[in-house]
Symmetry: C2
Subunit: 438 residues, 2 copies
């Protein structure tokens, strides 16, 4: 018979050269995935103590290898500048000692979180005496396709390692030198902790072919998570045959009900829009019940404009100075900046209908003093998070107390909302008997 | 502003004619999905009492309309016979009063199960006083693509309705008259119970285009579940941009350990292979530890052959009369009949390696008296169900006490193993505060 045991990984951190990687990337991604599987099989049964030791070793390695990592990063930054990359992208790409220390802290924090692997999700004894339990197990091999930020390299590696998954990291070409240096440090630390180097691998980012191969590696890769802009996520969702978790698009609404405390409403609208406009849980659209429009519109228009926000409004809002008339494109837009669409709605049901039509299903908030309105809104609005009298900005793994977050899922399959460690696991049933047959 | 509330469904069971449906099926599937969404929004907030009443009404309607359904089925059967369809397919296609009564019983059983919608999966109060809870909600619109058996039409409709999902049923062309008659009865019963008719809709099955459109209806359909043969499932997985749950392929192994009670092992092997060979949780491969090969092989070969099973064996097994030499194709094969592949392995690790290489990840069993062997096998084998001293045949929603089953998932994302009502739901976070901002 053919038992074909996979060769031992040898626990050696092989240096992955960029030159070799560009050739035959199809074959190479499959090879990387097979090496990841061998490492994943070992990692799946590693104890929490071993995994936490590896995370601490990885944190230390980032600081020990700071000079190599920062030198590599400086080369990436110089190349990006030479290519005319905009300054806000350069900022995302850039590392310094403080950011590196932040990455190390993040790995240590993940070490402090409970291990999801082995958690018994449910269990019972069946009528025939079989003991059945459903337990959390790692997915196995997880691929991450992401853009500029090199800190994602360490964050994603740490979260995947703690949840027992070998990770294939496919960052952007612009960060290739930084990511290579970070991954080398992490791999060496894994080996020093008794884990296979291949629990963390970098997928060459030099050609688009490697991303496409990763997306088509069904059976070799168990899960793919895209992190980045809407274009990246859409292309992964469309092209991938590997199961994907969609993250991040947030066209979030705040609805100010007839029964709202208008001072509270103003605070929430301003916070949701302006606290950090570039992130997915920032508000992009404001809906106001007609009964409070006369009282609320002058206040909210002034406050938003004073905060530098451009309002794209319906007829009611457009009656105010400086408000730009909204088009349908505005209702659909995730501005990710100091813009907001705004409309007056006849009642709560009209607000729900608007949200059903335009929302991306991330986060929506109602401001109301009415129990009936809150109950109807939370039941009728089907988004990952539905807030009552709170800012949409709270949809966040850290705020929810998850301790670490690999992204915010806007799909309904498997995980929805902020994804922590348990969301990076699957389950299996373990059934123990004493000879039962049917 | 554009609030564009969808028109009321009117709660009228529109007759879906086959002729109209073949034209412009692209547009039609999208239209059906949009109607399903309107119905799903209403169904999502329906009480358990309403849903259970509808399930009882549907059960009654199947019996009231028995003559129409059986007449339509007779036409399907006659057409299939005229096309030269094999008799075992004809059997799957055929309905009679007893099978119809079984379908009605199934709907009543689903009515008796707990409602998964609204279940609080977790909840806590955050440090800032926000009350956070994660609650089960329906997916919304679920598509089922399935083959011959018309009983799936009622089963899937009942399970989807109870879990709050509007369903798009795309059965096979050969059952189109039966499915149409069943769906008409179910729709009328839904309306009589105060639910929209469009909670259950049939997707025309006359052309392959309708299935393809269903697979590409991302955003309109939340989840697609293929039920049928390996070819159907593979094509849905490959082509679909809608999230898919893969069901059903079972290349299941029984491993007889060195420490096995050989009488128990014989009972389990025979049960797993011969109790119902055509189903996915039947055993397809037998592995025997070398230490017990001399004692066990003569017994198991004789018993399997007496039960009519053809053994495809490695060299050790092939030494016995009537055993056919196995090729690599045999290790990968899901026979779904009275065949089994069989090999002697050096030890437990070789059994694990063989299973990792060849299993479809459905169900594997170890027979052993050793606690250490059981612990290692259940940890190292990553399948939906891992059995110790029990038949693989127990991987089943009914056996696990789930009460209803839409299929057995062999993927790791979202659901793994038998899928009951909770597996047909997503979750959302409801966060209630009193004005919290960041």
């Amino acid at each position: 018979m053919s038992t074909a045991v996979a060769p031992p990984s040898g626990h050696q951190p092989d240096r992955q050269s960029d030159e070799q990687s560009d050739q035959q990337s199809d074959q190479q991604v499959a090879d990387l995935a097979r090496r990841a599987r061998v490492a994943a099989n070992e990692l799946a049964t590693a104890t929490r103590a071993t995994k936490d030791a590896a995370l601490h070793a990885m944190a230390a390695a980032l600081l020990e290898h700071a000079e190599e990592i920062l030198t590599a990063n400086a080369e990436d930054v110089a190349a990006a500048r030479a290519d005319g990359t905009p300054e806000h992208i350069i900022d995302r790409l850039s590392l310094d000692h403080a950011r590196l220390a932040g990455m190390a802290d993040g790995l240590r924090e993940v070490a402090g979180l409970a291990d999801p692997v082995g958690e018994v999700v449910r269990g019972s004894v069946l009528a025939n005496g079989l003991e059945m339990r459903q337990v959390r197990v790692p997915f196995g091999v997880v691929g991450i396709i992401y853009e500029a930020r090199p800190n994602v390299t360490a964050d994603a590696a740490g979260i995947c390692l703690k949840s027992g998954n070998a990770v294939l990291l496919r960052g952007s070409s612009s960060a290739k030198r930084s990511n290579l240096a970070i991954v080398e440090a992490l791999r060496a630390a894994a080996v020093a902790s008794g884990l296979p180097a291949d629990v963390v691998q970098r997928v060459p980012a030099e050609s688009r072919a490697s991303a496409q191969q990763l997306m088509r590696a069904r059976g070799l890769v168990d899960l793919l998570i895209p992190r980045g802009g809407a274009g990246l996520i859409r292309s992964v969702v469309e092209e991938s045959t590997v199961p994907v978790i969609e993250t991040g698009t947030g066209n979030c609404h705040v609805y100010v009900d007839a029964e709202a405390d208008l001072d509270m409403a103003l605070r929430i609208v301003l916070n949701a829009k302006t606290h950090r406009p570039s992130v997915c849980n920032a508000a992009e659209s404001l809906l106001v019940h007609a009964d409070v429009a006369d009282a609320f519109l002058p206040r909210v228009v002034t406050a938003l404009q004073e905060a530098g926000v451009t309002i794209h409004g319906d007829e009611r809002f457009a009656a105010y100075d400086g408000v730009v008339p909204a088009t349908d494109a505005d209702w659909a837009e995730e501005y990710l900046g100091l813009h907001i669409s705004a409309a007056v709605v006849a009642d709560l049901e009209a607000a729900v209908a608007h949200i059903r039509q335009w929302s991306s299903g991330h986060s929506e908030a109602i401001v109301t003093g009415s129990q009936a309105a809150a109950r109807r809104f939370t039941a009728a609005v089907d988004s990952a998070a539905v807030m009552v009298n709170a800012s949409t900005r709270f949809t966040d793994g850290g705020e929810f107390g998850f301790g670490a977050e690999i992204g915010i899922s806007t799909q309904k399959l498997h995980a929805r909302g902020p994804m922590g460690l348990p969301e990076l696991t699957s389950t299996k049933y373990v059934v123990v008997g004493d000879g039962q047959v049917r």
